[in-house]
Amino acid sequence: MAGFPPGINMTFAVRGGGGGGSGGMSDECGGFTVNTYADNAYHTIASLSVVRNPTIIEVRAVGRRTDAAGRAGYVRRAVVYRDPSSGNAVILNAFDTTFTRELNTVWNVRLVVNGYKVEIQVRGGAGTVNWRVSWVFSPVTRGMLTTDGVYHTLQIIPILDDSVCLLEVPVVGLRADADGSSGYLHRAIVYRTGGGAATLLKTVDSSLTRETVVAWDSTIQVSGNDALIVVRGAVGQTVSWKSSYTLEELI
């Protein structure tokens, strides 16, 4: 998700399983905005409808004070779902403070919900601060249902021989027969060499895990010449899973 808009088709080896695109001012998949504030209160710089349910949002923000020294950069991520009874947006557990670099710790960027929307709020200190904020919703499109507690393969990603790949995988789960949801973001380096099988370089990095049912899981595995996106629900629960991926490969 980070850095590579969904579905982007690089000429030299980035391929992805997501759909849609990003950019522009405010579409379902992503956008950006700029604004200036002159106090140390939180300001809603963007208010975004939660269309996909659940969804993973990643926000990047940079701020610069123009009348004195002051600067900051932030990355925030959250799994957001729609409450089945009220329809309101809910941030699952808490948003993730993925990256924070700031001169003044009063400054901050946070995610909050308001009705069916998720809001990006920024706070500077005293003085005038210019902000640029962008966001991307993970374009999870490939789906399946699970009704048991074993791992199932949601997507199969062929790995070319003699290649090294950086695979990034967002996964979301939504219980279809009751309230429950989850969201994950996994990264892994996968390679093949000399006609051998796909191999994980050390461990899968699961930097974002948010779930209402701790028995649920998703991860990246390898089998034969492929990388697999696998998901696990729970016995007696019908869970709808969706995922996508982006893959950078060095051949």
């Binding site: 950069g73 640029r132 962008s134 090294v164 990264r187």
Partner: protein, 119 residues
Amino acid sequence: MLPNAVCAGPVTFVAQTTDNIYRPVEIIAIPNNTVYMLEVRALGRSGSDRAGYIRRALIYREGGLAALQGVVNTPLTRESAGTWDVTIQVSGVNVQIVVRGAAEQTVDWQMSYTFEEVS
């Protein structure tokens, strides 16, 4: 008036190293009075070794040279050769993406980066 703000990426390129010295493989000029958030992804491969990295940093210029705000963030490091590395440095008014392979080893690198800036 709205602030001047841009973003770009991913910018992609390839590089090669044959020693274990940090080598700049991309040099990006930072405009004065600008804050710049950079994210770098890198893959490296050489015979029996391979690696993948993600790096992030916040860089700024306020009337002087480029400087890092805090330290470089290293959210992902996976490598089979311990001497390899990718990082972000500042030099003069520039930010540099630098890579390090290993002595007497030809390492092919594939790099990409995105950035966002506000002034």
